[in-house]
Amino acid sequence: MRIFDPHIHMTSRTTDDYQRMHAAGVRAVVEPSFWLGQPRTNVGSFCDYFDALLGWEPFRASQYGIAHHATIGLNPKEANDARCREVLDVLPRYLAKDRVVAVGELGYDSMTPEEDDVFAVQLGLAAEHGLPALVHTPHRDKLAGTRRTLDVVRESALEPGAVLVDHLNEMTVGVVAESGCWMGFSVYPDTKMDEHRMVEILRRYGLDRMIVNSAADWGNSDPLKTRRVAETMLAAGYTADDVDRVLWRNPVEFYGRSGRLELPETDAPVETEPGELVGARATFLGNSVLRGARE
């Protein structure tokens, strides 16, 4: 079973997680830039963070045989701090990078006028750079926030198929299904979605435009929730091909719009010496291994 986790914050996770993810079948991830818990107060903090998402973290992932990509953007929470506004000026530089597969996470936190501005500007940047957009929906006042999100998307230069609206649940999936946007679900141990409710939603809305992620970060979360959803789907009677569609082909189709995914050969066995990391040999060969070559 091959798994693409389309939303996971690996900078907050340990190497144990990378090992367990690889063992569970995860071969590719997208790490959206987001809020780090501690507010940032200047653009330099963001630059170092974005550089880590395009430098150190993909290297770390490659050691464990996992292809790492990023989405870059100014998140809605910090969009409200005027000191962080300069981030918008450096974004074009980052949106040109090879492994940047979308603009994000965008969207609303408290639905302020500042969040409106920053959201709309970044949807414009996505269109300019030929990138899709990853849009998060707010924790509070979620249905109203989701509707307002869809209104802003409709007014933007992006077509609905270039937008993934994330963190959906039973209350918000319907309006997004009607909009033509992709539907993202974050499966968590005790908030957002769980794997059984997830399978119910798949049963009700079908597999088209459906994206499942662990959104694992520095909070209570589990990087193997993608695998749990796959197992729950199989137990509910879905075929292995259905599972592959939701957990690999759908996210590949969405982020593939960027033209910048670099996916490993998912069926090639990796030979290692005892104690050697599965990706260790790849790391001396530059980026070639992630295009499928191996010495």
């Binding site: 550089d51 395009l54 430098g55 150190w56 993909p58 290297f59 530089r93 040109a96 990078k97 090879d98 492994r99 300019e128 750079h129 030929g130 033209g259 910048r260 260790a280 790391t283 001396f284 060969l285 530059g286 980026n287 295009r291």
Partner: protein, 191 residues
């Protein structure tokens, strides 16, 4: 982003070096579409920067500082060409700060790329020995280090012997590459 060919990008950089920062990040994708090597395309872009060495080094610094890991690696790999003998605007040792930056990272792709012929020619002995030791520590194949046979000396041999003793004391295997470096150091002394 308007699609540009590698040849167009090189011509644009030659006439307007400020366009380098626009072309450099996308250069590997463009090259891949044309069946070309991304690192070679990036080297050609850097080689096209006109003007005196100071302008070239300024361009090298900017794309390195603003680069992702693949861009930084490509810049490091291009340094020997940018410093080729006979080149009117050869950069000399002015790019050593980025070599040092790469050697401080834990990214083995960058460390390996930093230890090419440019470092062999310009890096001071202390920093170069530390870098070779880091190669042994991080498992980078030691044949990636340019000029090893020429620069391996008694002090490096002492450091590698201490490293081997520390591994043995911990009950760990001494990598064969440590023996390779020791042999080269001793052969060097015999010269």
């Amino acid at each position: 982003m308007s699609p540009v060919t590698t040849q167009d990008a090189i011509a644009q950089v030659a006439s307007d070096p400020t366009s380098l920062e626009r072309h450099f990040p996308a250069a590997a994708r463009t090259a891949a579409r044309e069946g070309l090597d991304g690192d070679a395309a990036r080297e050609a872009l850097l080689m096209a920067v006109p003007g005196p060495a100071a302008s070239v080094i300024d361009a090298v610094r900017r794309v390195y500082d603003h680069g992702d890991a693949a861009e930084r690696r490509a810049v490091l790999l291009a340094l020997p060409a940018l410093d080729a003998p006979g080149r009117a605007n050869a950069i000399g040792d002015a790019a050593l700060p980025i070599v040092r930056d790469a050697l401080r990272t834990n990214d083995t792709r960058l460390v390996a790329a930093a230890l090419g012929p440019y470092a062999a020619a310009h890096l001071d002995a202390d920093a170069w020995r530390q870098a070779v030791l880091k190669v042994l520590f991080t498992g980078i194949p030691v044949e990636r280090v340019a000029g090893l046979a020429d620069r391996a000396d008694d002090e490096l041999a002492r450091m590698v012997r201490d490293y081997a003793a520390e591994r043995e004391a911990a009950g760990r295997v001494v990598p064969p590459d440590a023996r390779t470096v020791l042999d080269l150091s001793l052969a060097h002394r015999a010269d």
